[in-house]
């Protein structure tokens, strides 16, 4: 029987799949709570993410950058820079990314946020659904993106 997390993730992936298909993004479901998303950047390259949604929505998803050839996560060579979301620590700095929390991730910039309160964090705004998060990253890659860290 599917868990509440699996049911919600499946529901929220429907609009993300629709947007991905309309925009030519690569989408692959890895398991019931994990997916790969590949988004275009303004330099013509693609940025791949592995998104882990276990314990969602109690906890926000973990948005990892992934090397499409090796599967290695969060290597500087695969990590974007530029703008305010792509933090110099190599993580997407937003309350809707589990990796932004220092209590969860050693490179997380924020020790002042509470992981379980991510939806109530004023910085989250309306970025409360998986497709909203993906759209924000896609827009950052088309706008302030300045290349990779390594």
């Amino acid at each position: 029987m599917a868990t509440a997390t699996e049911l919600l993730v499946a529901e929220e992936l429907d609009p993300l799949r629709e947007v991905a298909a309309a925009r030519g993004w690569y989408f692959q479901l890895v398991d019931s709570t994990t997916f790969i998303l590949r988004l275009p950047a303004n330099d013509g390259s693609w940025v791949e993410l592995l998104v882990k949604c276990d314990s969602y929505p109690t906890l926000p998803p973990a948005w990892h950058f992934r090397n499409p050839d090796t599967g290695v996560l969060d290597s500087p060579a695969d990590t974007p820079r530029g703008g305010a979301f792509f933090h110099s620590n190599g993580v997407i700095c937003a309350p809707w990314n589990r990796l932004a929390y220092s209590a969860h991730w050693s490179r997380g910039p924020h020790g002042d946020w509470t992981l379980g309160d991510w939806r109530a964090n004023p910085q989250t705004g309306a970025t409360k659904m998986l497709c909203a998060m993906a759209l924000r990253i896609a827009v950052e890659l088309q706008g302030p993106y300045e290349g990779r860290r390594g």
Partner: protein, 83 residues
């Protein structure tokens, strides 16, 4: 209204894709309101309309002033900045 006075937009939103046609004189803020309403998004939240990575501001400006071509692909994203 004459066909050349309208523009069809393809807007990616948190709840899927909205394809809609607007008079070219429609203000961006009205397009945002329409997308929120038609896609069942929370009207209490704030969103930006983005084209090619650029936020369409000020939202009082009409679509025609941004030079959007028929079929332009835009994104409706939650207002906010990285922190």
């Amino acid at each position: 209204m004459a066909q050349d006075q309208q523009v069809s937009l393809d807007i990616a939103t948190p709840k899927g894709v909205l394809q809609a046609t607007f008079p070219k004189t429609t203000k961006v803020e009205k397009v945002i309101q329409t997308a929120i309403q038609r896609m069942g998004l929370d009207p209490g939240e704030r969103f930006d309309l983005v084209y090619s990575g650029t936020v369409l501001q000020p939202t009082e400006r009409p679509l025609v002033s941004f030079g959007l071509a028929d079929g332009a692909k835009l994104e409706l994203v939650a207002t906010g900045a990285g922190v």
